[in-house]
Symmetry: C2
Subunit: 494 residues, 2 copies
């Protein structure tokens, strides 16, 4: 063999690390869920938008164009040099569906209706270290209203989120949309007398730990500091107990119903005008939800929701599933958050210099699907096709005709296309496909104008449960006239 | 302003060159078409598969790993260095759906049923120079059977393709699936006595020009050469007229029906065993299509289909739309090809060393959609939502209640969320949304317990056609009791 003909090593048959393939029902169930959610988004007046997976790094923003490689968190690459021009653009895969919406809202601002309600669903990519259950491509399913400063837009999103979760298969009572407001928090910060900038940021960071350390932990962290479980001492922010009081009142202001919560919040914000405005907004959202028939068992004001409060500028919402599941160690735990959103500014401003108010929500479809599976409401094996077996290789056209007849009657069907020599392999194949029915026609049956119709589901049950005599009676297999094939299969499929 | 705080220039609000956004009905209609095609694929026993957009360049193959940058035709980038390890993998966006199938079929060969029928639909990416109507991201919609050498698999794909086109909205008679066979061509090459390798490749390349230069052109190019339109002389392959004869017989062997075509082909391949095998296969496909109820008005043997014959190893198919459309210059032309496929080897071989036979088809969804639009069967403006206008900002909850009621009745509806001050803007907005109905309730109407329901479609027609008196009569706007809102909207929507 010549030196330059040395054999190429075989490529590895695997996806890149952190990427995954989805087969059969995994694809179908996700698609059904997206379809159900899209139906609700659409019914609320939202329009579909599909942008491409690739954007310029410049338009994506967030990730500063680094001279060397601007790919912290994104998959990015540089276009080839422009002939006679300079270096090519840096392109990247979108990391969410909001950044492309910002670009579209700016690019088409003169053509789109305003306000612009749009929904989008599709994969996004994150260039992160993959871990167990953490993938570098996953689905998002967003709805946003761009160009409305009205709190009615936020209320609408909350109601729509509740409707979407139910339409996707989550029972009422198994989820709760919790609503908070950044403006209330701003009012609280005013009430503490803490200066804006670094001191206020310290307070915000501490509030973010409320989920983990609870009321007493936050109190210590806001004031003199706290020893954590490992015994290490975490410095406090240095507020006086009086300064810390409004923050703690805010975090614990959830009452028995919205009316009680809002009264507590009003007390907590004291004389802050911003705080009062925030409470008023929550009051309006509460009223509008009631008017839309969305009760407090579905969406509720809850000031303990603090995740994302630093990012959003007005109302913030989060949908949690309230039922318990067993984790990998068999311990009961809450399923937790499946969707989140809120009001944000500066969406279009980066491009045009003009502030455009926007509010929106993103549903984590893969988590929602996992929840339905945990409840046994998804993930069941779909029945496979009816398999027409091949007893006589030369009569393939006859078998194809049977499959075509079944399909024309709306029944999923196929002819066995492997090597037909070993009949056992054909039944094993039907088994692997979860086929409900196998059709058999040998030379003898063909001459008599009949087919054997084998009920594979009943057959499997008999094989598992029945005595040898029952087994021999073979009630799972029926002989019918050829022209009754479709009717008999229909009878078995029910 | 400090020097290091200099203003960042604003990013451009546009997608990368060659990428495009899809809005509203463009998204919905493509989705509906994919759903319709998937329904047919599924009914034929095919299982959905969704691989990720990103593969290793190594697994994608075709594009040789170039030390510098292996991105001829693909979007590729190198992963960051592995800490303590060597250079990172090269990753790329998939350029079709077949290469990922090859990787999956190899990776999961012990788990997947065999034969494995799978369908896949989704975007693919090509790093090519964008041009008018040519995009760097577009949809493919494939079905393949991996692991069956039986020509029954090919016949099934052809029948399924015809069924899928009809289910997607192409009328019977408006399309034709044409079928050829590489093995027949191999037999023809044997009959010419041309050696394998370079001489045979020259003949293949010449055959590929049949579409362009016709029978006489191919005859000249196979023998002594030809002057093209510009007057330039193209050297011939150098066959004798006797050697060229079987090739020309092959290309022109299409008869009045499959029986005639097959008889012509049998004569053309002469004593070649490979050729005879190829004709036999076409005969079987013809018989099986007939058995499946697919007549020659839908799928037909046509040896003039030569595109891709160099790539495929057995049967080759192509679906053409047979109706004429007007091109951008107003000239009538055939719409042309919307799907293609065939049998190919070496799919899995690259990974495992084992030859695995496979056959499949790919439908060009965007072209098919363009065809439906050219026929006026798609692309019509979808009706927008019912718009509940806002006359009284303080009664937002009432308006939200109306929209919620309409939605609960299955009617697409929304409240106007822009600044409500200028009522004309609200009706302009409804117009831009193609809303069929606007709901109006001012203070007066609220007190009287009624709403105004405005039929915007009728209103637009009256505005365009009616006299001033008719216009004043305003039959397009009706006052109904508040509780009759849903019924009245239903009546108008019909």
């Amino acid at each position: 063999m010549a030196k330059d003909q040395k054999k190429q090593p075989r490529p590895k048959a695997e996806p890149p690390k952190g990427f995954k393939d989805y087969f059969g029902a995994d694809v179908t169930e996700r698609k059904q869920m997206l379809d159900r959610i899209a139906e609700i988004y659409h019914r609320h007046g939202f329009e579909p938008l599909e942008t491409s997976a690739v954007e310029t790094v410049e338009a994506l923003g967030k990730f500063l164009p680094d001279v060397d490689r601007p790919n912290a968190g994104v998959f990015a690459w540089q276009e080839a040099e422009v002939p006679g021009g300079g270096a090519g653009d840096w392109l990247a895969l979108r990391y969410d569906l909001t950044a492309p919406l910002a670009r579209v809202a700016a690019q088409f601002r003169n053509d789109l209706p305003s306000p612009y309600r749009r929904y989008a669903m599709g994969p996004v990519w994150r260039n992160e270290k993959p871990g167990p259950g953490r993938f570098r491509q996953f689905y998002q399913c967003d709805a946003d209203t761009v160009g409305s400063a009205s709190v009615a837009a936020d209320a609408e999103i909350c109601a729509m989120l509740a409707n979407a979760l139910e339409h996707a298969g989550i029972t009422r009572g198994d989820y709760l949309v919790r609503i908070n407001n950044r403006k209330v928090l701003n009012g609280i910060l005013e009430a503490t007398g803490v200066e804006q900038g670094a001191p206020a940021d310290d307070v915000l960071r501490t509030i973010d730990k409320f989920d983990k350390v609870g009321e007493e932990g936050v109190r210590q962290l806001l004031t003199s500091g706290r020893k954590d479980e490992s015994g290490a001492f975490i410095d406090g922010v240095g507020l006086t107990p009086e300064q810390a009081a409004p923050v703690l009142a805010f975090l614990t202001s959830k009452g028995a119903d919205n009316a009680a919560t809002l009264a507590n919040l009003r007390a907590a914000v004291g004389t802050s005008a911003t705080g009062a405005e925030g409470v008023d907004e929550l009051q309006q959202i509460s009223d509008m939800l009631a008017a839309m028939g969305v009760g407090e068992d579905r969406a509720i004001i809850d000031p303990s929701i603090v995740r994302g409060l630093g990012y959003y500028t007005g109302p913030v919402f989060e949908a949690e599933l309230t039922f318990e599941i067993l984790d990998e160690k068999g311990r009961k735990r809450q399923f937790g958050s499946v969707a989140g959103g809120g009001r944000y500014d500066g969406l279009v401003e980066r491009f045009t210099g003009q502030k455009v108010p926007a509010t929106g929500v993103s549903i984590g479809v893969d988590r929602l699907l996992a929840a339905l599976r945990a409840k046994g409401l998804a993930g069941t094996q779909e029945a496979g096709p009816v398999v027409v077996t091949v007893m006589d290789r030369d009569r393939m056209a006859d078998y194809q005709a049977m499959a075509a007849e079944l399909r024309a009657a709306g029944i999923r069907a196929e002819v066995y296309l492997g090597n037909p020599k070993n009949f056992g392999n054909q039944l094993k194949y039907a088994d692997k496909r979860y086929s409900p029915v196998a059709i058999i026609q040998g030379e003898d049956e063909a001459q008599r104008g009949v087919v054997q119709v084998k009920d594979l589901i009943l057959g499997a049950r008999i094989a598992a449960e029945a005595s040898h005599d029952e087994w021999k009676a073979q009630p799972a297999q029926t002989e019918v006239a050829r022209q009754d094939l479709v009717a008999e299969v229909r009878r078995i499929l029910g």
